[in-house]
């Protein structure tokens, strides 16, 4: 059979080929849109589950500092509201009376958080017994129960009571861990990169270091946890669960990222700059310090921020070194037990109580907001200081 080779819209073979063409293009667009749809679904899901945790219900209640309340705070709450007011809100009353005996016998009216199940009911997330529903609805109609912004979520630490639990201690822990990571990994990473890019002769040792760094960048993070446990905790006796051991472990993990991005930034500085400085009689270190480093600094900072953002979202190695302890009070030094934001999210996610689900999602929203800000800063820095030579 003779086939016509010139393009003809009527040739069935060519039409089939064009159909295949548009089908293939459609597949590739579909794949991209599936990925976008997943991203949209993911963020919608997390935000819709978590945004309610930024509000909480409070009740106006007259706390009576009577004799029984001196021993158990709960008795300061009027009897008919004891099912509704959070136990945690009155836990400190015996201590207050002990510290200030003049309080005994007085009473005062205050807005205090409600019990988490009531809070969940008001948000339409949990059922309550009918009698309680009636009482809560009446209180709400009377304006005794109000909904306010949940500042406590940002200012208080973890708690066994969902209505009081917040991310403050975890955020402080994250900050301490990141500080240790930065102090450890930034100088060593930048120094290694300078050595490899500017000083190293091309020999076996240099090649070994290079291969090694590329492999370290791909080692699963949990392996770094095992390293931290065996070396820092068991050999060097760094306190378990402390921000120090967490920061060092994440530092080792972040090191290859910083080295790789710093090398890229150094390599982007064109050679004529170095040659010009050498021609003026600079030593190698003077060339690096006065010319190459200042020019590559934005790139180095960008890489460091990206590395830190990655370290900030990391959980697995920190669990291995014990950073999932219950930490109600923010740590004050890097030697104390601490937890970090992702580990706090993990702890809340494993809580069976329903009120913790929205806490988990809210913690995730905060975490994602911080990480997106960090990454956006990195992109901004790169765009602003990017130089084409």
């Amino acid at each position: 059979m003779q086939r016509r080779l010139t393009g003809s819209a009527n040739d069935p073979l060519i039409r089939a080929r064009y159909r295949r063409e548009s089908r293939f293009k459609a597949y590739s667009i579909t794949a991209l849109f599936v990925a976008f749809a997943i991203i949209v679904a993911f963020f919608t899901d997390i935000i819709s589950q978590g945004y309610s945790a930024f509000w909480r219900a409070e009740i106006e209640v007259t706390l009576d500092y009577n004799e029984r309340a001196e021993r158990i705070g709960r008795f300061a709450i009027p009897e008919d509201l004891r099912e509704i007011v959070s136990r945690g809100a009155v836990r400190s009353i015996p201590l207050q009376i002990r510290n200030n005996p003049a309080l005994a016998g007085t009473s005062r009216t205050e807005w205090v958080p409600v019990y988490s199940r009531i809070d969940q009911y008001l948000k339409g997330k949990e059922e309550l017994p009918p009698a309680l529903v009636r009482q809560v609805d009446e209180l709400k109609a009377a304006g005794v129960i109000r909904t306010t912004f949940n500042w406590a979520f940002f200012t208080s630490g973890d708690s066994k009571l969902p209505e009081l639990a917040g991310i403050f201690s975890a955020a402080v822990g994250s900050l301490l861990v990141l500080a240790v990571t930065l102090v450890f990994a930034f100088p060593i990473g930048v120094m290694s990169a300078i050595y490899l890019e500017e000083f190293a002769p091309d020999n076996k040792l240099t090649q070994a270091i290079e291969v090694n760094i590329n492999n370290l960048a791909a080692v699963p993070s949990i392996i770094f946890g095992l390293l931290g446990l065996a070396v820092f905790i068991n050999t060097f006796g760094v306190p378990r669960s402390s921000a120090l051991v967490g920061g060092l472990t994440l530092g080792l993990m972040t090191l290859p990222i910083i080295i790789i991005s710093t090398r890229a930034a150094l390599r982007a500085v064109p050679d004529p700059i170095r040659l010009g400085a050498f021609a003026m009689g600079c030593s190698r270190w003077q060339v690096v310090r006065d010319h190459v480093l200042p020019l590559s600094l934005p790139g180095i900072l960008t890489g460091t921020i990206i590395g830190l953002a990655q370290a900030m979202g990391e959980t697995a190695p920190l669990i291995i070194v014990g950073m999932i302890a219950y930490i109600p009070e923010a740590p004050t030094s890097i030697f104390e037990s601490a937890t970090v934001l992702p580990a706090q999210v993990f702890t809340w996610a494993s809580e069976p109580r329903k009120a913790f689900v929205e806490k988990t999602a809210a913690g995730i929203i905060v975490l994602l907001a911080i990480l997106l800000t960090l990454n956006a800063t990195a992109v901004f820095l790169r765009r602003k200081f990017e130089r084409r030579w």
């Binding site: 080929r17 991209l32 990925a35 392996i223 291995i320």
Partner: protein, 415 residues
């Protein structure tokens, strides 16, 4: 004196000494120059030169003492170390001042010291790898002293729970030999979750990369690429939550609709979510590779009359295959080592099955669970984490090496 306080005192004393050394060194050089003698280097370089003479030996003494006491050779008291270091610092300062002479090449000496300093920083990454290998190997050896390698590799029953009772002194309640460390079910779970993840990530990632590099305009590409990379920036603990709270119930509902019985810790859900996590790795690596295929290959194909998709399928993908395989292997290595998603969404019951709707457990889940309890550090269950970690490390290392090799060969071919 605590170790933190000692360090603080040492550094606190060295800082003013360093300043003094700098001023004295530079002063001496300036004085010499003022008297008409020309010096080899700049005055401040002599300043730094004497700082090095002062600080380096002192820090060396302090670090050596710290290492000696960590490895238990001798344990000098911290006060002694502090005093000795400071004496060495002052002696070093005196020697440094004496050493400043016009013919001394302070600048070259400084450059050399800095080179060594930078090299020692670069060696830390080697030390890290060596200590990963040594520490994991050492603990894994202790494990294999109690459990035979053969049982670990071929056994199909993993139930370390009973050794917990033994460790608590209640071993006789369960009888002898009832703890099994056959790792096959764990590796089966890891394999299953990896396979599901790659089955999700590879088509979506590769096709997205093809669209971005072949069909999209510059502007479309400029938008699509960063959006996809958002997925790479999401912490794994968040993916774990998403898998456990959102995806698992959906899968259970869908399975129920078809009359199937799915577990609430089925392996399918973490597998799919892990696949979502890996999409950006596959897409951005494949995108890079496809972009580096020379334009002449495309034009040659067009000249023969092929359509765009035929060019992609018959010319570009075969040429890009090593790069795509390398992206695939990197994705596999990510999936094998991924921890949080499976810890939060997969099961804890070792289960040997082909059904992705059943619950299975993985290697990483078991590493986490055997190290988070209140177990004694040398119980076989705790040590088993290191044996599992060793296998994980070796496998991911091989995958990375193969993947780097493929990429290098690919680059050599087209650069």
């Amino acid at each position: 004196m605590g170790i933190g306080l000692t360090t603080l005192l040492l550094l606190g004393a060295l800082a003013p000494l360093g300043y003094l050394a700098f001023r004295l060194g530079r002063g001496k050089a300036l004085q010499t120059m003022a008297s008409g003698i020309s010096m080899h280097s700049r005055p401040q370089q002599y300043g730094w030169y004497s700082v090095v003479w002062m600080g380096l030996p002192a820090l060396g003494v302090a670090i050596a003492a710290a290492l000696l006491s960590v490895f238990g050779v001798i344990a000098p008291s911290r006060e002694l170390v502090l005093i000795v270091s400071l004496v060495v610092a002052i002696l070093g300062l005196a020697q440094g001042m004496r050493a400043i002479r016009p013919e001394v090449r302070a600048r070259n000496a400084l450059d050399n010291i800095i080179r060594w300093l930078l090299l020692s920083a670069a060696l830390i990454s080697i030390i890290t790898t060596v200590s990963i290998v040594l520490s994991i190997l050492f603990e894994a050896m202790r494990f294999f002293r109690e459990v035979s390698v053969w049982e670990f590799v071929t056994g199909t029953v993993w139930s370390p729970g009973d050794t917990f009772l033994e460790a608590a002194g209640r071993g006789d309640e369960v009888g002898e030999g009832t703890s099994f460390f056959g790792s096959v079910p764990l590796f089966a779970g890891t394999f299953m979750v990896t396979a599901i993840a790659m089955a999700t990530a590879l088509p979506i990632g590769l096709l997205s990369a093809i669209f971005m590099s072949e069909y999209a305009t510059r502007a479309q590409r400029g938008i699509a690429k960063p959006i996809l990379e958002i997925l790479a920036g999401i912490p794994t603990v968040v993916y774990g939550f998403f898998a456990a709270i959102t995806v698992t119930p959906i899968i259970v509902d869908i399975a129920a609709f078809f009359g199937l019985d799915a577990s609430y810790s089925n392996i399918l859900s973490p597998g799919i979510v892990m696949g979502i996590m890996i999409i950006p790795f596959i897409s951005s690596l494949s995108d890079d590779v496809i972009n580096s295929i020379p334009q002449s290959l495309r034009e040659g194909a067009y000249a023969l009359g092929t359509t765009h998709s035929e060019t992609i399928k018959k010319v570009i993908l075969p040429a890009a295959l090593p790069g795509v395989i390398s992206a695939f292997l990197l994705g596999v290595s990510r999936a094998l080592g991924e921890t949080m998603i499976v810890v939060m969404a997969a099961g804890v019951r070792p289960n040997l099955t082909w059904n992705p709707l059943e619950d299975m457990t993985t290697v990483t889940v078991n590493i986490v669970y055997s190290l988070t309890g209140d177990l004694a550090f040398d119980s076989p269950q705790t040590l088993s984490a290191f044996a599992l970690g060793l296998v994980l490390f070796i496998v991911t290392l091989m995958l990375n090496l193969v993947s780097t090799y493929l990429v290098r060969r690919f680059k050599q071919k087209y650069d």
